[in-house]
Subunit: 208 residues, 2 copies
C-alpha cells in the first residue's frame, strides 16, 4: 500500500515546517542573507536538526522553492487550461495570481532570486534550475497565446515577447499589491490589467 508509516508522517511534518521557516526568513532577509542559524531559530529547532532532513543549504532552499512554486503553477495551469474564452481564462489566471500572492506574500523574494540567480561559480548548475522553471512557464504561456492567435481571439504577434511583457507587467502590479498596506479590490486591478492588455492605452475615439 501507498500509506505512510508514522515515521514518514513525522518526517514530512518536520520538513514542511522547516520549509515554512526558510520561506519566512528568506522573505525578510533575502536569499543570500538567510542563514541556517536564523532558519533553525525560526523553526525552533537547533541548526544540526536541519541537516537530518536536508543534505545542505542548497537543498533546503531548492526544495522550499520547488514546493512553493508547484502550487502557483498548478493554480495558473488550472485557470489557463479550463473552458471558456481566452479572455475569461486570462482573467481567471490573474485572479489566481493575486490570490496566490495574498496567501504567500513572502514568496515573491524567493521567486525573484530564482529568476535572476546569483552565487559562486561552483553552484551554477543549481542556479540554472530555477531559471529553467521560469522559462518553462513562459514557454507554456507563449503556447497558450499562440493558440489564442490561431483561433482568432487575439491579434497575431510574436508570442514569446508578448508572454514576457504580459507576465512581467502583471507580476509588477501583483508585487506592488503585496507591498502596499491596503490594496484596491482584486477585481479592480484585474479589470485594469485586462483593459490595458486587450485594448491598449490609445485614446478611444468614442470617448471625449
Amino acid at each position: 500500500m501507498a500509506t505512510k508509516s508514522k515515521e514518514e508522517v513525522v518526517q514530512e511534518f518536520r520538513m514542511q515546517s522547516l520549509q515554512e521557516a526558510a520561506m519566512r526568513v528568506i522573505a525578510r532577509r533575502g536569499i543570500a542573507a538567510a542563514t541556517m542559524q536564523e532558519i533553525a531559530d525560526e523553526a525552533e529547532v537547533s541548526k544540526g536538526t536541519i541537516y537530518l532532513y536536508y543534505k545542505d543549504r542548497d537543498e533546503l532552499v531548492e526544495k522550499t522553492f520547488e514546493n512553493a512554486i508547484r502550487d502557483l503553477h498548478m493554480r495558473l495551469d488550472t485557470a489557463l487550461e479550463s473552458d471558456g474564452s481566452f479572455e475569461q481564462r486570462l482573467r481567471g489566471a490573474l485572479h489566481q495570481l493575486i490570490g496566490f500572492f495574498k496567501d504567500n506574500g513572502e514568496f515573491f523574494r524567493l521567486y525573484l532570486s530564482h529568476r535572476f540567480p546569483e552565487g559562486s561559480p561552483q553552484q551554477q548548475h543549481r542556479q540554472q534550475r530555477g531559471c529553467d522553471v521560469y522559462r518553462e512557464r513562459l514557454d507554456k504561456f507563449a503556447a497558450i497565446l499562440a493558440s489564442a492567435m490561431e483561433t482568432g481571439e487575439i491579434r497575431r504577434m510574436e508570442p514569446q515577447r508578448l508572454a514576457l511583457l504580459l507576465t512581467e507587467g502583471a507580476n509588477a502590479i501583483v508585487v506592488e499589491r503585496v507591498m502596499e498596506q491596503s490594496s484596491p479590490p482584486a477585481e479592480a486591478d484585474v479589470d485594469l490589467i485586462m483593459s490595458i492588455i486587450f485594448d491598449g492605452i490609445r485614446m478611444d475615439r468614442s470617448q471625449s
Copy 2:
C-alpha cells in the same frame, strides 16, 4: 576656480576604473557573491587600494550603482521630456532603454539587486535608497502618463499602475534582449512593444 587639480583627476580616474571593475564582477557573480578580492583583481590593483578610495564595500557598490543609473535616467528624461507627441517620446525612450542595455549589458543585475534589496538588518537604511531611486523613476513616469491623459493622447486610467505595467513589461523584453545571443533589430522590438501598449492584443475587426 572649479578646475580640478592633478591629484583629483587621477583620483577620479581610479574611482571610475574601480567602479567599472565592480560592475563587471557584479554582472557575472551577482551582488552578494561579488568579493572585494575579485573586484580588485578585475581592476588590476590590490585589495587594499580599493579602501583608499572607498570607505567600505557598501560605499563602492552604492556609488557604482548611482553612477550607472544616472546615465540611464538622463537618457530617459531627455527622451520623455523632448518635443513631439507622447507616442514619439515613448518610442524614443524605448530606443534609449535598449541602447543603454546594449552599452551596459552588465547593468541589469545591479539594477535588479537594488530594486529588491537584500542584506543584513543593519544595512537596511542603505537598502532603502536603491528602492527609492526606482520609485522616484516610477512616479516621474506616472506623472508623464497622467499629463498625456490630460492632453487626450491616451485613455484615462490609474497612472501608477499603468507605469508599473509598462515599465516592467518593457524592461522584461529589454532584459531578454541582453540574454539572447542575437536579438532582432531594436526597431522590431520597439514596434512590437509600442503596438501592444497602444493597441492592445484584441483582434482588430478590420483584420481577417
